[in-house]
Symmetry: C2
Subunit: 211 residues, 2 copies
């Protein structure tokens, strides 16, 4: 089983590494980070680089694709190379997945038309404009398409998907080994739980960022 | 404020990237990944590489250190360069922190003697052998030393520490922006919650791995 994680300039690191840490432990899986060119790819803040070991063209038919999001996603919405690869890869996959605004890239590639899906909470309107049907769930399964909400949600998606791929016992083992027993010190992780003023502040600040 | 994250061969990616994604958003912070040599550093499975942009020697006095763990930790327990750097850096830090078996490296450097601390649940005995006082908490503060439990716990540590550094409002903003509203599909993330047989299986398997 080959898992491909496409990287692009200004991706968000945890979008990729959260599900990587879970799904990379699938028995028999090989994970490959891919990009238009091989070599280091910089994240949204510029202080972290993950290495892409193969080009998109070198990995045409993965079994599972995990598309991260991040501020750089908006620069990729008309990137014919990346969107073309997503379509080609999707024709081969058993599972096509995304975290955060990675779902906007799947939607731009035409893969989420009429499908239930999710994205970062600030990107749900944009997701709808691209033909998907946003839901309020943290992880959304629609056939082989699995989309997760913002940044940290890829860990939950990874465990839910690992359960489907390798069974509940394997997923439970991985949860125990990664000690995923979350205890956030605040209860402010969704727009429903956060103070309304904070939600509105970020909606205003992001208005021209996510598209 | 300079945040240094030391990398070593076969580190666990989420140990580093979880707290990075949270604490890297501290207003005014600069994050630098460091290692004995600059360039790509491979994680425990070998399929992920993070780039170290500076050598340990080039970053002698960070304000905050975050030490990840991972299977490669056991190869570093007598590495005089890394342990010496941890001692020197610690003399400058406001906060010295670890995730997972990273605390064994802090302990090997002599920094956790008699301190309350934690580690991956499979490494708590080893932590005690190195002079620390393990607790059952997910995130342990003892003065400026902050240690977190296994792999995913660095996200919780990051938020708790961000609250201390930059205030509750900033931490809440970062929780909302990273949409950290965890919803694990299983409830098996600690040895107390997992089936006893699974816990015993992993204790047996790890007996000669963590030291």
């Amino acid at each position: 089983m080959q898992i491909a994680i496409p990287l692009f300039d200004r991706f968000t690191a945890l979008d990729a590494v959260g599900p990587y840490e879970i799904l990379g432990r699938t028995p028999g899986a090989e994970v490959v980070f891919v990009a238009e060119r091989t070599g280091p790819v910089s994240n949204d803040s510029g202080s972290l680089q993950l290495v892409a070991h193969k080009t998109l063209a070198e990995v045409p038919s993965p079994d599972l694709v995990i598309v991260p999001g991040g501020p750089g996603q908006s620069d990729q919405m008309e990137n014919a190379t990346l969107l073309g690869w997503l379509r080609t890869a999707d024709a081969a996959t058993t599972w096509t997945t995304s975290v955060c605004t990675g779902s906007l890239l799947l939607a731009a590639a035409g893969l989420l038309e009429g499908r239930r899906a999710t994205s970062h909470w600030l990107a749900l309107e944009a997701l709808q404009e691209f033909g998907a049907e946003p839901t309020g769930e943290r992880v959304v399964f629609d056939g082989k398409y699995v989309t997760a909400a913002g940044v940290s949600s890829g860990i939950d998606m990874g465990l839910a998907l690992l359960g489907r791929i390798a069974g509940d016992d394997t997923a439970r083992s991985v949860q125990l080994l990664t000690e995923y027993d979350p205890q956030p010190p605040y209860d402010c992780g969704s727009p429903e739980k956060a103070p309304a003023a904070l939600v509105e502040e970020w909606r205003a600040r992001s208005r021209h960022v996510i598209r």
